[in-house]
């Protein structure tokens, strides 16, 4: 219960941040060339100035900037993100449709990066300065330097074009209407390459952090005690070291949530996944500023939620946190 209230307080503290972001980006978008009505007029194939004026009044765009901002924030409280003239739907609907692929992709990449980062980090630390350590650390450096979109393209060349093992893009086969388990398997097949592509750089970061943190914890007194008790090395690592060494990795999940969401913009474009990231890209290209602002709001919200979950996880792993209160 204490943990929950602690994390809840941090969640409440992030509301001003969210408001700050919205005000900042809203004001920023005022400088953008063209507004929603311009985009709509272009969509309709042009129109006269009277229609434009009429539309601007209808959407409240003829008001002063502070009044518009107030209106926007007031609508946000009622979870109304405005209307996307490009998609002809409320922005909230458009975003909700695009959210599942992104969340799926992020969860999969995070699990992949976390699990293998942990395993490789432990192996590297256990074999400190021997060849497995050198190999893993070198691979980590190279993965870190690899541009994700390029890795994605090369993976498509190898696995989709030459070997023809995996699909080159899309979220599922549109041709075959499937249901149940087959549909899940189909989606999973489509997500393998995007997951690897997005997860690669995080794998590199996690394994480096895990290795450093393992080396640190392995030298602490309680590990020596555990060894002195006669525990075998595997027991020492799994029961004593791992839990403590994992703490920096868990912190990193929260810090990297935003980066991962940003990375999915690129990855979703490479693999033409109908996700939030691709929507962000499309709304920039199509000048759909209402949708762009909505995406800013939702992605900031997503980062805050991830951090909330990380807080809970952290408190479970390290009881000292909730004691300090």
């Amino acid at each position: 219960m204490r943990i929950l209230s602690l994390a809840g307080r941090r969640l409440a503290a992030s509301i001003p941040t969210l408001v700050l972001i919205l005000i900042g980006v809203f004001l920023l978008l005022q400088f953008a060339p063209g507004d929603t009505v311009d985009a709509m007029m272009a969509q309709m194939g042009g129109g006269d100035a009277a229609t434009a004026r009429e539309l601007r009044r209808f959407y409240g765009l003829d008001l002063s900037v502070p009044a518009q901002l107030g209106n926007y924030l007031w609508r946000l409280i009622r979870l109304d993100l405005g209307f996307s003239s490009i998609y002809g739907k409320p922005v909230a609907t458009v975003i909700l449709e695009r959210l599942p692929p992104t969340i799926l992709l992020m969860t999969a990449s995070l699990s992949f990066a976390f699990f293998f980062g942990l395993v490789f980090g432990v192996i590297a630390a256990r074999q400190f300065n021997k060849w497995p350590d050198t190999l893993i650390s070198t691979l980590g450096l190279i993965f870190y330097a690899t541009p994700s979109f390029w890795f994605g393209l090369m993976a498509i060349v190898v696995f989709s074009i030459y070997l023809q093992w995996l699909p080159a893009g899309g979220f599922e086969d549109i041709g075959a209407v499937q249901s149940g388990v087959f549909r899940i398997l189909d989606i999973a097949r489509h997500l393998i390459l995007p997951t690897l592509t997005l997860g690669l750089i995080f794998l590199a970061i996690y394994l480096r952090i895990m290795r450093a943190s393992m080396l640190e914890v392995l030298n602490l007194d309680f590990v020596r005690t555990a060894r002195a008790k006669g525990l075998d090395e595997t027991r020492v690592v799994t029961r004593h070291v791992l839990r403590n060494a994992m703490l920096p990795m868990v912190t990193l999940i929260g810090l990297q949530a935003g980066t991962m969401l940003g990375g999915s913009v690129v990855v979703e474009s490479v693999f033409s996944l109908p996700g939030l990231g691709r929507l962000a890209y499309e709304s920039v290209i199509q000048r759909d500023l209402n949708t762009l602002l909505g995406i800013v709001f939702v992605s900031a919200l997503l980062v805050i939620v991830v951090n909330f979950i990380v807080d809970l996880l952290y408190a479970r792993l390290d009881p000292r946190i909730s004691m300090e209160g």
């Binding site: 992030s14 001003p16 941040t17 969210l18 700050l20 972001i21 900042g24 980006v25 920023l28 978008l29 400088f31 953008a32 060339p33 400190f128 300065n129 450096l141 190279i142 870190y144 330097a145 690899t146 541009p147 994700s148 979109f149 390029w150 890795f151 393209l153 090369m154 498509i156 060349v157 074009i161 450093a212 080396l215 640190e216 810090l255 935003g258 980066t259 991962m260 969401l261 940003g262 990375g263 913009v265 690129v266 474009s269 962000a280 890209y281 920039v284 000048r287 500023l289 762009l292 995406i295 800013v296 992605s299 900031a300 980062v303 805050i304």
Partner: protein
């Protein structure tokens, strides 16, 4: 001197330095090796690498020399990466120094803003900035710098917090030094080394961000950039995959070189942390 000796002793750090110098040499010599416009048509489109001695790395979809674009691309990557890093570090030091030195409400306000920048995914903010201000070389560079400053700011703030009550600062205070003198003359020189080492991380990320933007065709289309070329090569990925593959390797090597140099500097300046 000791630090230089320690740096040279690490093979990885030396390799990074050699690679980086090589890329800088490419950037400087681009105009001499390929005096013609790298974006001008040079020959038949889609010549495979190593098949025509005139185009060592082949040509792209519209018959432009890939090798020339790689040389000129080095200029763009280093220019945008370097300038964006300078901007990010400058803003970061300013914000971090003020927040760490004054504390109190200044700290609260500045850290709230930093938090806001960190909560918003940096690539999404980059998209917003490009959507608003357009995608010329200058705006892209500034935009990449503007999304990269929070981490250096936090680092500078932490350094200032740990330094601001040390004896030498208090001595300065009793001597009647002004705040600006204390910040610039006393604390900053001591706070700078870790921030400079961190600049290599900022630069590596800045180069990756710019190339991703260029790949999405949201960066300046009128310059030869590696990311642009990868985006172009995507259209012919099925058969002529080398158009995308070659500039990607260039980006990889550049980012790797920058990270290796940064790590080497870090190890050389903090010998206690070696091997971590």
């Amino acid at each position: 001197m000791d630090a230089i000796k320690r740096y040279v002793r690490s093979p990885a750090a030396v390799l990074g330095l050699v690679l980086l110098l090589g890329i800088i040499a490419m950037a400087i010599s681009a105009g001499h090796v390929y005096p013609r416009d790298p974006l001008a048509l040079a020959g038949r489109p889609l010549i495979w690498p190593f098949s025509n001695p005139r185009f060592l790395l082949g040509t792209d979809n519209s018959g432009r020399d890939i090798a020339a674009q790689i040389f000129y691309g080095a200029r763009i990557s280093l220019l945008i990466g370097g300038a964006a890093t300078l901007i990010a570090i400058a803003i970061g030091i300013l914000v971090g120094a003020l927040a760490g030195f004054y504390g109190g409400w200044v700290d609260t306000v500045l850290m709230r803003i930093t938090e806001a920048f960190q909560t918003l995914p940096n690539f999404v903010l980059l998209l917003v900035l490009v959507a608003v201000f357009g995608s010329t070389l200058t705006t892209v560079t500034i935009a990449v710098g503007v999304v990269s400053w929070p981490a250096p700011a936090r680092l500078t703030r932490a350094e200032f917090l740990s330094l601001r009550n040390r004896e030498f600062v208090q001595a300065g205070r009793t001597l009647g030094m002004k705040d600006a003198q204390l910040i610039l003359g006393e604390i900053l020189p001591n706070a700078l080394p870790p921030v400079i080492v961190y600049a290599s991380v900022v630069m590596a990320v800045a180069i990756l961000l710019e190339s991703a933007l260029a790949f999405l065709r949201l960066s300046d289309p009128n310059v030869a950039s590696w990311g642009n070329l990868i985006g172009l090569g995507r259209d012919v990925l099925r058969v002529q995959w080398y158009v995308s593959a070659i500039p990607g390797i260039a980006i990889l090597v550049t980012v790797l070189a920058v990270s290796l140099v940064g790590q080497g500097l870090n190890d050389a300046l903090n010998p206690r942390l070696r091997g971590r």
